[in-house]
């Protein structure tokens, strides 16, 4: 890909993502306090000592947000891997082989696009229990539909291109063509939509944690915001800061996805 | 033909239009001037891309809002410059005094509205005082005038249910809704079957004799010109290169480009072998023109420096007021 200088918006977004993952990787070292322990007076507003203030029993909110960065990063990466595998595989098989296989896969894809994920996930958590692993699996297994459709469309259009036909005519096996010619060319589009999906997943996970269906043993941004609800009248900071963290993470992912999409469009 | 009227209906003076393209600014219309007289049929003839449609769209300021720039010129109508008119004044003229029909009646009609609603809109915009019954009668009358016999049965249908020729009749009905003094018809028969073409031309002739409207007819089809036009302006590369009365032009085309156009058109008189194309391509209109833009394709090979250095201007005057822009033949006229 040709190197075009990134604009300020995209560069800030990349910077934010890097910052988020650094914080996630070193949350233990970076957090000023242990977010599970009482470190000061309860419900104290932002101060030099507690930059984001403290919660009802005196736990440091900044440390909570730092630990939350780790939780969301793990979920985004985990769900991202599952979604990328399912969505890409189903999309490729559907688009490349067509026929009955395509029909069957597309019906299932439509089903997963239609069903309200939030409610399905709530049932799944009720049946299988909350917890990071279950959450990642459930989010992953319900979020791939749009990616599969996009990959399928991309494969359909790439299949008609001359270089793919040339490879097929020269006797390359279909699987080889698929993984050597089609997949690499479909990658930018996959990344664009994967990013979009993951920003939705991040918001979905936040809402689930907000109503208390997240991993009970991990601190997440959504959980922090949910816990603030009872103290809204006295502790505005408890609601504001976790939300800002979610907003920035989602915004950064969306901006990068947009920028990449623009680049693909101008290249064509 | 009412060429002896004292004042022209519409005068275009030195119109220049530029277009932004990915490869830079292109001059689509390069200093076009002409008059249209009351009741006459003036025809613009030229290859596609020569600027004839752009000129017509520029008259009513219907060029795309982005990418098209009218650099200079005046369009005088009733003593007012349409190019400088405010939007209220312009709207009072559009569809009422001057109306327009377009090349593709399929895309030019709103697919979401019935034919009746679309004709009705043209009436309502300029005659708001009419009652619903009066408007409906007027719609039916217009449809019958343009040859839609079963108007009452078909007026509530949508454009996609109609044939191309019928759609173009509907477009003409819309254009004639307020009996304009000038009808601009941009390639009204292009894309239609030959028999349908003839029918549409008949309709145009009919409405003209009924309302006395002048018509500016844009076409690349000399057969259409011969059938209906009084006067012809031949356009090449954004300029009018020859303007003549129709009989005179067909009898004796002067400009080498006009001569080339004529020999491209098959007719019953032309022997099969003598049909030929004009060699070469129209010029890329992206720089300022130096000399005659036709000189590379010119069959006359008139060997004069002027052709390469001086842009030929319309000059001379035949008995009926014809003019030609050519260094080689311009002198013949005077």
């Amino acid at each position: 890909m040709k190197h075009v200088p990134l604009n300020l918006r995209t560069r800030s977004a990349v910077g934010l993502i890097v910052f988020w993952f650094v914080v996630a990787g070193f949350s233990r070292q970076l957090a000023p306090y242990d977010p599970f322990k009482v470190s000061g007076p309860g419900l104290e507003g932002p101060s030099r000592e507690f930059l984001f203030g403290t919660d009802a029993i005196g736990r440091d909110l900044l440390s909570g947000v730092v630990y939350g960065a780790r939780t969301s990063a793990i979920i985004v990466v985990g769900v991202g891997i599952i979604v990328a595998i399912i969505g890409t595989l189903l999309g490729i098989i559907s688009g490349y082989f067509g026929g009955l296989v395509d029909d069957a896969i597309m019906r299932i894809t439509e089903l997963f696009q239609v069903i309200p994920r939030f409610f399905l996930i709530i049932i799944a958590i009720a049946y299988f229990g909350a917890g990071m692993d279950n959450l990642i699996l459930v989010l992953g297994f319900t979020s791939w539909a749009m990616l599969a459709r996009v990959v399928r469309a991309e494969v359909l259009s790439l299949r008609e291109r001359t270089f793919v036909e040339a490879a097929l005519v020269s006797g390359a096996s279909p699987w080889r063509v698929l993984f050597r010619e089609i997949l690499p060319n479909a990658t930018p589009v996959i990344v664009v939509y994967l990013a979009l999906l993951l920003s939705q997943v991040l918001l979905l996970e936040a809402s689930l944690s907000f109503i208390g269906l997240g991993d009970p043993n991990a601190i997440s941004w959504g959980y922090l915001a949910g816990a603030s609800q009872a103290y809204l009248r006295i502790g505005w900071w408890l609601a504001v800061f976790p939300g800002v963290a979610i907003l920035l993470a989602v915004l950064a992912i969306n901006i990068i996805s947009d920028a990449l999409n623009e680049r693909i469009k101008t290249r064509r | 033909m009412t060429l002896n009227s004292a004042k022209p209906l519409l005068s275009v003076v030195d119109l220049v239009v530029d277009f932004d393209t990915p490869r830079g600014v292109v001059r689509a219309v390069d200093g076009v001037s002409f008059d249209i007289w009351p009741g006459e049929v003036l025809s613009f003839v030229g290859e596609s891309g020569c600027g004839k449609t752009v000129t017509a769209l520029a008259l009513l300021r219907l060029l795309p809002q982005v990418g098209a720039h009218v650099r200079s010129g005046r369009v005088l109508f009733d003593g007012v410059d349409l190019l400088g008119l405010d939007s209220v004044g312009l709207r009072a003229i559009r569809g009422k005094r001057i109306s327009m029909i377009f090349q593709d009646p399929t895309s030019s009609l709103n697919p979401m509205k019935t034919i009746e609603r679309q004709i009705e809109e043209a009436i309502k915009l300029h005659q708001p005082a009419l009652t619903r019954i009066q408007i409906r009668d007027r719609v039916v009358h217009l449809m019958v005038t343009v040859g839609i016999a079963d108007a009452r049965e078909r007026m509530e249908e949508y454009p996609h249910m109609w044939s191309g020729g019928m759609r173009q009749r509907a477009m003409i009905a819309i254009a004639m809704a307020n009996e304009p003094v000038l009808l601009i018809a941009d390639e009204p028969t292009t894309g239609l079957d030959t028999t349908v073409q003839a029918q549409v031309l008949d309709v145009l002739r009919e409405v003209r004799s009924e309302t006395g409207s002048a018509i500016l007819l844009i076409t690349h089809n000399l057969g259409v010109v011969a059938e209906i036009a009084d006067r012809v302006a031949v356009i090449y590369a954004g300029r009018i290169v020859e303007t003549r009365g129709v009989e005179e032009l067909f009898a004796r085309p002067l400009h080498p480009y006009t001569q080339g156009l004529m020999s491209c058109q098959p007719s019953f008189e032309t022997a099969r072998g003598s049909l030929r194309a004009i060699g070469g391509q129209p010029p890329q209109l992206d720089g300022p023109s130096i000399g005659c833009t036709f000189r590379d394709r010119c069959a006359l090979k008139f060997d004069r420096n002027d052709c390469a250095t001086i842009v030929p201007q319309l000059s001379g005057s035949t008995a009926t007021g014809g003019q030609v822009a050519c260094h080689a033949v311009g002198g013949v006229l005077s």
Partner: protein, 321 residues
């Protein structure tokens, strides 16, 4: 002429509905834990379990169980709540009205404002409104709905006191029918506004790009040539076609509005399904959760159907296809 299209579209509903039913059936059966033990809270003996299994048909082959399951649901029997013993349909029915009021208001308000914004933006030549809408939608799209709700509650209710903090009606209200409607509207304003504002951004952007595309069409030029003003051109001609993508989204996003509503209801103490979801998921009252899921899923299927049918109403060409 309309029937073939509608007929074919109706047929497409069947696979989706079966898919939803099959998916939930599979989910129930691969779930760990024994529903009978859960029902008896682990207090019964083997004979009791066997009796219950038989009673609920759990000793039948899977395919028969599937038949019973589907049959029950299609008859509107969603089972009974583990916790209250009340029928799930009744439990949901008691709270459905409030949620429908909230989501319905949000959909209608956001559609009207979003479309209006786009029309106004199309008539302004400077593009200032376009930039504002784009920036706003970027931010709103990235904001968690609970965060917007909490900020609004913090500022407009707690700080300024303009709106009530919790609930659907003021306590001890006795103001007659008209007064009650006003009071409900006042309570509804914030939660519905929060749900609507994200939608407004989506609708406005889609509508704007739709109008922009339509304005380039030939028939718009015809309208201008007739002497129509810019606002007449936009409202009478561009608007209708530009509605198509917006209608698609309103149908598709009903699921999102419902899930947003669950969270917003909790924050504003709105007595709808949100509270029920919260309590049922805390007590793992799966029949109730399943009932709500099926209800929302079928609502989405139904609204997609209505969306597609309204296509035919908006665009006469589709009726023929």
């Amino acid at each position: 002429m309309k029937l073939p299209y509608i007929g074919r579209r109706l047929l497409q509903v069947a696979p989706t509905v079966s898919g939803v039913l099959l998916l939930t059936f599979i989910l129930i059966h691969i779930a760990p834990g024994d529903p009978i033990q859960a029902l008896a809270s682990g207090n019964g003996d083997e004979d009791y379990y066997a009796f219950m299994r038989h009673k609920f048909g759990l000793d039948q082959p899977l395919i028969n169980q599937l038949g019973t399951y589907v049959g029950n649901i299609l008859r509107g029997d969603l089972g009974t709540s583990y916790i209250t013993g009340q029928s799930v349909s009744t439990t949901i029915g008691e709270r459905l009205g409030a949620t429908l009021l909230l989501t319905g208001t949000a959909i209608i308000v956001s559609s009207i404002i979003g479309i209006g914004l786009a029309v106004v933006a199309s008539l302004r030549s400077d593009g200032a409104l376009d930039h504002a809408t784009n920036a706003a939608s970027l931010i709103l799209y990235a904001s968690p709905v609970f965060w917007i709700a909490q900020l609004v509650l913090l500022f407009l209710s707690l700080r300024l006191g303009w709106f009530p903090v919790q609930g659907m009606n003021s306590a001890g209200l006795d103001a007659g029918v008209f007064g009650t409607v006003i009071d409900t509207a006042w309570h509804l304003a914030l939660p519905a506004g929060v749900l609507a504002i994200q939608e407004v951004a989506v609708v406005a952007r889609l509508m704007r790009s739709g109008i922009r595309e339509e304005l380039g069409q030939d028939y718009i030029r015809t309208a201008r040539a007739k002497g129509a003003s810019e606002s007449q051109v936009v409202v009478r001609h561009a608007l209708r076609s530009a509605l198509l993508p917006v209608v698609t989204v309103i149908g598709n996003r009903i699921g999102n509005i419902f899930s947003g509503a669950m969270v917003v209801e909790l924050i504003f103490g709105w007595p709808g399904l949100g509270q029920l979801i919260l309590s049922s998921s805390q007590t793992r009252d799966t029949p109730v959760l399943l009932g709500i899921f099926l209800l929302v899923a079928f609502t989405v299927v139904l609204s997609n159907l209505i969306t597609d049918l309204s296509y035919a109403w908006i665009d006469p060409r589709i009726r023929l296809k």
